[in-house]
């Protein structure tokens, strides 16, 4: 489904070259629910940018559903992101001047889906995340948990292969945080979408069947593999 092969990423700042990711190989299957943990500077954001097709690795190969996505040009990359990836951010990033269903429908608009059809699908998805009564509300009128639900609906409306969540519960209180995690688990089970959550919170990571840990730009732990003897 999602194959990373010896991915490296280095940044050149002046004369010095910093290696952020070192040869990461990783395969994630459809319907998996995985978490990526790691301290600051471990490279998890860079890994997420690469998986999310926002950044390109310096070396390595990356395939989604067998498709080599690194060959695409910038505008084609936009199309791939639109079809394959759903993003959820810590700060929701909803557009304040669009109401809930227009926010959810945004990826469909960029795909060229007609407004009536986009609205129907957006409302359907809002119903699935439990916000059928809030479709006409604007983001400032919604609570934090409700905003994140709208953001999740937006990420899922285009039926992507991967749902990438960057600290999705970081700004929420524990109760709401758990509700959002339950929603991820539910969507993962119901839609069979691959969910990848980047988090600092061990409690969140523990609820994922597969747990990955990054350290110094390399994969230090993968619960799917037999832990290395030490």
């Amino acid at each position: 489904m999602l194959e990373l092969e010896a991915i490296s990423r280095s940044f050149r700042v002046g004369p010095a070259e910093t290696q952020v990711l070192r040869g990461i190989s990783l395969t994630l299957a459809a319907g998996e629910m995985a978490s990526i943990m790691g301290g600051s500077g471990s490279g998890k954001t860079t890994l997420m940018n690469i998986i999310g097709l926002l950044d390109r690795p310096s070396e390595g190969a990356y395939r989604i559903r067998g498709e080599d996505v690194l060959a695409a040009r910038p505008d084609a990359l936009s199309g791939l992101r639109n079809r394959l990836i759903g993003f959820v951010f810590q700060s929701y990033l909803l557009l304040p001047r669009l109401n809930a269903w227009r926010n959810v429908a945004l990826p469909l608009m960029y795909r060229g889906v007609a407004e009536g059809e986009a609205r129907r699908r957006a409302c359907e998805m809002l119903e699935r995340v439990g916000l059928s009564h809030r479709t006409e509300h604007f983001p400032p009128q919604l609570s934090g948990g409700q905003r994140q639900r709208v953001a999740i609906a937006r990420a899922l409306v285009g039926e992507p292969a991967v749902l990438l969540a960057d600290e999705p519960t970081g700004a929420l209180d524990p109760t709401t945080s758990q509700e959002i995690m339950d929603l991820f688990l539910e969507m993962n089970a119901a839609l069979g979408v691959l969910v990848l959550i980047i988090t600092h919170d061990p409690g969140v990571a523990a609820q994922c069947r597969r747990r990955l840990v990054l350290e110094g730009g390399a994969l230090a732990h993968d619960s799917a593999r037999v832990p290395a003897p030490c």
């Binding site: 940018n49 999310g52 926002l54 950044d55 910038p74 505008d75 936009s78 199309g79 992101r81 639109n82 079809r83 990836i85 993003f87 951010f89 990033l93 557009l95 001047r97 669009l98 227009r102 945004l106 990826p107 608009m109 960029y110 795909r111 060229g112 407004e115 937006r154 285009g158």
Partner: protein
């Protein structure tokens, strides 16, 4: 999609109302200035052309000059010209002076013109009542009044009309005609509306230093004004001795004034353009600020599948909305300005056909041109950097 883009553009402009209004005012003033300038230029041009149509483009004005001021034209040679030169159809020499005229206790100062009977026809004067001076009136105490002079000399009880008595110095003249109101010709040294017309003989009595210094001529329709002026000068030369004669043609005057008008319009256009460029810079400024504030939004849009083109379209739509709205308001402002100018100058209001399309087109072009750079800048943002913006 287009509907969505326009909706979002209008929504975003409304969200930062103050900034939008500032940019709008810039474009509006610029477009208004351009339109007003073009319209005022057109009004002035029409007015000049109207004056010349009144006067005729086939007119020449002759003025004798001597070493110490105005000279004297040889009347006999002058009146022979229509017979000796085929280009000249009619010629009317005149004496120019001024003084006070009284009627029923009203006293007004006016222009005194000593003329021959051809003058009315050559200068295209028409009568409101009575008749003009004829060749048989040379020594009769008759006067013809311009429309304005007749009005000003009238009292509520005694309107100046044919038969009224006008006192000039020691003489009393009988009004035999009153002219219809006419536009002042840019050619003539005096305004016919404010004039009293006497025969040459009478003019020599009422004007303090009467000199036959002026003449106005009408040319044959196909005659070339410059060549005719040259031949008239040559014909008069033997009789002029030390004096010279200046010949001014309506065509030369028109050409000169048209050149001036072009320069004037160009200058006004330049002022308008500067205002428009300032408006455009205003648009660019608020677009750049808006993009800076909305970097995260741009990053998000790119992340969920917007192409670079979608981003630039979004911002271009905002710039275009601003400039179209500014252009429409500017049309109102420009037309109002031209109307005010026409009212103040007393000239006929007319809207030159190119004023509105040019003004509106230029304002939209400026808005889009200055919106283009920010839009392209927005579309070139790196989504990672944009998303990370605090």
């Amino acid at each position: 999609m287009l509907k969505q883009v326009m909706l979002e553009a209008v929504g975003n402009l409304l969200a930062s109302r103050q900034r939008s209004i500032l940019a709008l005012v810039g474009i509006m003033v610029g477009a208004g200035a351009v339109i007003a300038m073009l319209a005022v230029g057109g009004i002035a041009r029409n007015e000049t052309l109207r004056q010349f149509r009144q006067m005729g483009t086939d007119t020449l004005l002759l003025r004798a000059e001597s070493a110490n001021g105005l000279g004297t034209l040889p009347q006999a040679v002058l009146e022979e010209l229509p017979r000796t030169l085929p280009e000249v159809r009619q010629i009317a020499p005149f004496i120019l002076g001024g003084g006070n005229a009284g009627h029923e206790g009203q006293v007004r100062s006016g222009t005194f013109l000593g003329v021959t009977e051809q003058f009315a026809a050559v200068a295209r004067l028409t009568l409101a009542e009575g008749r003009f001076l004829s060749r048989h009136d040379r020594f009769e105490p008759f006067v013809v009044l311009g429309a304005g002079m007749a009005r000003e000399l009238s009292t509520p009880y005694a309107r100046v009309r044919v038969g009224s008595q006008i006192r000039v110095g020691r003489y009393v003249f009988t009004v035999i005609g009153v002219l219809a109101e006419s536009l002042q010709s840019p050619m003539m040294p005096a305004d016919a509306n404010q004039a009293l017309f006497f025969s040459l003989a009478n003019a020599r009595r009422v004007i303090s230093s009467p000199q036959l210094s002026w003449a106005v001529a009408r040319l044959a329709p196909e005659a070339d004004a410059d060549a005719a002026a040259e031949r008239i000068r040559a014909a008069l030369a033997p009789a002029m001795r030390e004096q010279s004669v200046q010949v001014q043609s309506a065509r030369a005057l028109i050409a000169g004034m048209q050149g001036q008008m072009r320069l004037f319009t160009l200058l006004l256009g330049a002022v308008g353009s500067i205002a428009l460029v300032l408006g455009g810079v205003g648009v660019m400024n608020i677009m750049l600020v808006s993009i800076q504030e909305r970097r995260r939004e741009i990053g998000l849009r790119l992340a969920i599948g917007a192409r670079r083109r979608d981003i630039s379209t979004l911002f271009l739509a905002e710039a275009a909305t601003l400039s179209v709205l500014g252009g429409v308001l500017g049309i109102g402002l420009g037309v109002a300005g031209a109307l005010a100018f026409a009212r103040m100058s007393g000239w006929a209001f007319s809207l030159s056909p190119e004023a509105i399309p040019v003004g509106a087109g230029v304002s939209v072009a400026v808005g889009v041109f200055f919106g283009f750079y920010p839009a392209v800048m927005a579309s070139r943002l790196d989504p990672i950097v944009a998303l990370r913006t605090e």
